[in-house]
């Protein structure tokens, strides 16, 4: 094992000659401070990139009457282990989606809502909501919510629907 001691000693001496303890500590501190500051910035930067609005909202998010659900047809993910904005564990959000606009009673503005379905587990069965305002027959597929929108996911088994605010609609 003498050779191992020799390598370790040489490496340590070489590092000691080239660096200072203060420099090392400074770098570690910088990494910690810089790392801590940059990690939380990521989601903010992403949100800005897509410029998703964050309207003031009120009401029961797991009730069909909630403003975001004006054009929904399905089970609320908030009642299925997920939330309005996220899928329950074990399911995958479909990128291809049904999109509508709903008026937020808090500020009277219309927002664009993306009803991305969560897929990969059988139907959740909780909080079935069918408000379907703006829904069109299936021969207009991009404006119909009667379709299975689990497209582009590994599984086409429908579990529940999210309701994500993706933009501000135009003034009428």
């Amino acid at each position: 094992m003498k050779w191992l001691d020799q390598i370790t000693e040489n490496t340590s001496r070489s590092i000691a000659q080239r660096t200072s303890r203060r420099g090392f500590l400074g770098k570690v501190a910088g990494l910690l401070a810089g790392g801590a500051a940059s990690v939380p910035l990521l989601p903010v930067a992403r949100a800005d990139e897509h410029s998703n609005p964050h309207p003031v909202e009120s009401g029961d998010v797991n009730s069909c009457d909630y403003w975001r659900y004006c054009a929904i047809d399905g089970f609320l993910c908030g009642c299925c282990g997920g939330s309005m904005n996220s899928c329950p564990p074990g399911t995958e959000m479909s990128p291809i989606t049904w999109i509508g606009t709903c008026e937020n009673p808090e500020d009277g503005k219309s927002y664009i809502i993306s009803y991305n379905d969560c897929c990969g587990k059988s139907s959740c069965g909780n909080c079935l909501c069918m408000r379907s305002e703006g829904d069109r027959p299936v021969y207009r597929p991009n404006q119909s919510n009667d379709l299975n929108w689990c497209l582009g996911t590994k599984s086409n088994v429908y579990n529940c629907s999210t309701a994500i605010v993706i933009g501000t609609a135009l003034d009428k």
Partner: protein, 150 residues
């Protein structure tokens, strides 16, 4: 700074800046198109055609240009002729400026109004045929199609 935001599009498309509203075009894209074509127009292989860095190739032929308005998603849209025209010109110059021919002229409302009445019955087959024809004159598209076939 709002003026600066509109400047690039206005420079790219003569007349677009004067008539069109980029914000309105983007919102209409979000409501009527991006559910399937996705926010960055990347589409989904085998299900939804990609427009990003691609759709501009269609403007290299008259039939290709007409096809873009005749496809079901556009011709059967709830949007008015004016809004469709605005969205078409916006998405071409936003998502695929590099593929547009130098001679590109923006769509006009009267052109869109006529074309959307001639709905395409077999978009899949027509799309492939038109792209092959254009690829004969546009080597970039030819290599793109060859890569897709691999």
């Amino acid at each position: 700074m709002a003026t600066l935001k509109y400047l690039p599009l206005a420079l790219l498309v003569p007349g677009f800046g004067a008539m069109a509203d980029e914000h309105r075009a983007r919102v209409n894209y979000q409501i009527h198109c991006q559910g399937c074509h996705l926010p960055d127009a990347s589409g989904f292989p085998g299900k939804v055609p990609r427009m990003n860095d691609f759709v501009g190739y269609f403007l290299h032929s008259r039939e290709g240009r007409e096809f873009l308005v005749r496809v079901p998603g556009v011709s059967a849209s709830r949007m008015s002729d004016e809004d469709i025209t605005e969205v078409m010109n916006w998405l071409l110059t936003t998502f695929s400026p590099g593929q547009l021919p130098e001679s590109f002229e923006p769509f006009t409302v009267s052109e869109v109004a006529v074309l959307r009445e001639q709905r395409e019955d077999d978009p899949e087959r027509t799309r492939v045929r038109i792209l092959r024809q254009i690829a004969a004159d546009v080597p970039e598209l030819a290599s793109e199609l060859a890569r897709a076939d691999d």
